[in-house]
């Protein structure tokens, strides 16, 4: 059995995760750090990502690196994003920061789908967004967008 090199990733809240180098390299940001950091860097700090999110990101990378051609990759991805909004947004943020295109596309697409076909009120409810327009601004918007309702 060949011994593969492992890397330790440390999240913003100090949690550490030991992963195969190949899995860590799935993040282009980590790949860049390793390539420019010198041979001694076996622990890499990921200060923008919390432990909970980092563990999920690693789960994604593991699956995509170890079994990229497996038949259940699609269903893995579909189930992977069946999480609550906060986790989904953290995944999008982390995958952007860590430069993991596949995960960024997956999480972004899932969030985008949550916008489709919803009215403005429904969007606010879904995402817990407060309406911070003044009544004057709202009136202006209503006029600007009236075309959208009647086409």
């Amino acid at each position: 059995m060949t011994s593969s090199k492992t890397i330790v990733l440390r999240s913003s809240d100090g949690a550490t995760f030991e992963v195969d180098e190949a899995v860590a390299l799935h993040s282009l940001m980590i790949k860049h750090r390793i390539e420019t950091g010198g041979a001694d860097s076996t622990t890499i700090d990921v200060p923008e990502v919390t432990g909970n999110t980092l563990s999920k990101v690693i789960e994604y990378c593991k699956k995509h690196v170890e079994a990229p051609n497996s038949d259940d990759l699609k269903s893995f991805d579909t189930d992977f994003v069946k999480v609550d909004q906060a986790v989904l947004c953290h995944l999008a943020k982390a995958s952007y920061y860590m430069n993991i295109k596949g995960l960024l596309d997956l999480s972004s697409k899932t969030i985008a789908d949550m916008f489709k076909g919803k009215t403005v009120e429904q969007i606010r409810e879904t995402f817990h967004i407060k309406n911070d327009f003044t009544p004057e601004e709202e009136e202006e918007l209503r006029k600007e967008n009236s075309w959208n309702l009647f086409v």
Binding site: H128, D132, T134
Partner: protein, 551 residues
Amino acid sequence: MIPTSIVVSDALEPDFPVIYVNKVFESVTGYRADEVLGRNCRFLQYRDPRAQRRHPLVDPDCVSEIRRCLDEGIHFQGELLNFSKDGTPIVNRLRLAPIHGDDGIITHIIGIQLFTHAKIDLNTVSYPVFNPKTTSFTQETCPILQLSDEVMAQNIFSRLTPRDVASIGSVCTRIRQLTKSEHLRKMVCQNAWGTEVTGALEHMTNKLGWGRLARELTTLEAVCWKKLRVGGAVEPSRCNFSACAAGNRLVLFGGEGVNMQPMDDTFVLNLDAVNPEWRQVSVKSAPPGRWGHTLSCLNGSWLVVFGGCGKQGLLNDVFVLDLDAKQPTWIEVYGGSPPPPRSWHSSCTIEGSKLVVSGGCTAAGVLLNDTFLLDLTMEKPVWREIPTSRVPPSRLGHSLSVYGRTKILMFGGLANSGHLRLRSNEAYTIDLVEEKPEWRVLEYNGVGTQNAVVPPPRLDHVAMSMPCGRVIIFGGSIAGLHSPSQVFLLDPSEEKASWRILNVPGEPPKFAWGHSTCVVGGTRVLVLGGHTGEEWVLNELHELCLASRQA
């Protein structure tokens, strides 16, 4: 003397974007000009450059008062808590004055600030500081707004349709700000309509902007008929030619001359020229002359001719031409076993390089109902018949319109109906991306009910696809007394498609039939020729404009 900080904002643009800040502003606030131009000044109320809302110690009543003065176009004077870029609190003694243009409209707001050190301790303050009638504290608990602008705009919003992006701007101020970006709107159009279509629309957006263009193509609020007079001449005169647009150039090939002789010359009309005029294209060798053929545009400046009636009978040959070559030459493409020779068929181009041909009439006078495809990107292109289990009734003079990148809408024509040949107003669709593409009848919504609108049956009409996927139909040889210039609109992607009548101001062409249409730049439908019973007119073009040419 305390140095004065000055900011000028544009009052004609939404949300008063900053257009100028002086050096004092830069040095006191720590924000460089290039970091703040184009933004509203309210970022000074945020303690952190990346914050989404103002700091709770900023007096919301003062902010409302600023708003009121701006709305009423009057002076404001007051004091407001601001923060420099590194989070240091500073007091801004602010004066705002409106600047009027020649016609009395307020064009700019000038802001004069005297900044002084704020004697407050941010750590002893607890939330909420003011009356809870002020808003936006709960934005902090909203996960999606914690995402950066790039992730929100480039990765999430760019996947939405142009209409969705227009409507989500009403959700909250931050999203509104993000959706106003021209860059985002362009990405959205590209993702929704494809790069081919948006490339063709590029020059229109210099004047209109992508947001407005997408809106006009959806509402068709700016649609109108226009007349265009051009110079030069297509001589000898002819009918039954074929024409198409390559970018902003119209190309015409062949046709039937006065003595029914098939023509083989090529003409081009450059609409970008100051005085557009028809010019003959000098080619090394021409395809055999013909009429009742099809001319379609491939990627960029390439053109392809298929079929038609030549001197010795019906043809099924293929010729291509690169209009931009130093010496444009028609080159024959041999595609293996070609479709049966025909005339009055219809053709279209899929994904810029796949020629699709269907229907038409054979030498024996038999109508066809086949569908053939020739992929011209291949080294050795080969004709391929698309076998479908259900075929639309055979026809000639019908139209094929491409929508949704790989789908085709077939409409109208003179079709077999039992022993007879009747004008048709039926529509069929096919999606070539499928493994086994099938022609399907497009069912119309509300047929038989009082308010249902269906175009009268016709052949040799104009059909044109718009970027959003809807199809416009008008003209043609129509039975009865219906006006051929009535414009109809259809969305073929609906399960039960509804026809709509489009009321177009301006003077429509005096239609009958036999004209040719070309689409230029994605938003202009040019109608040339058209046998009005008198003569074939090619110096007067009629244009159906779908979007404004300038803002």
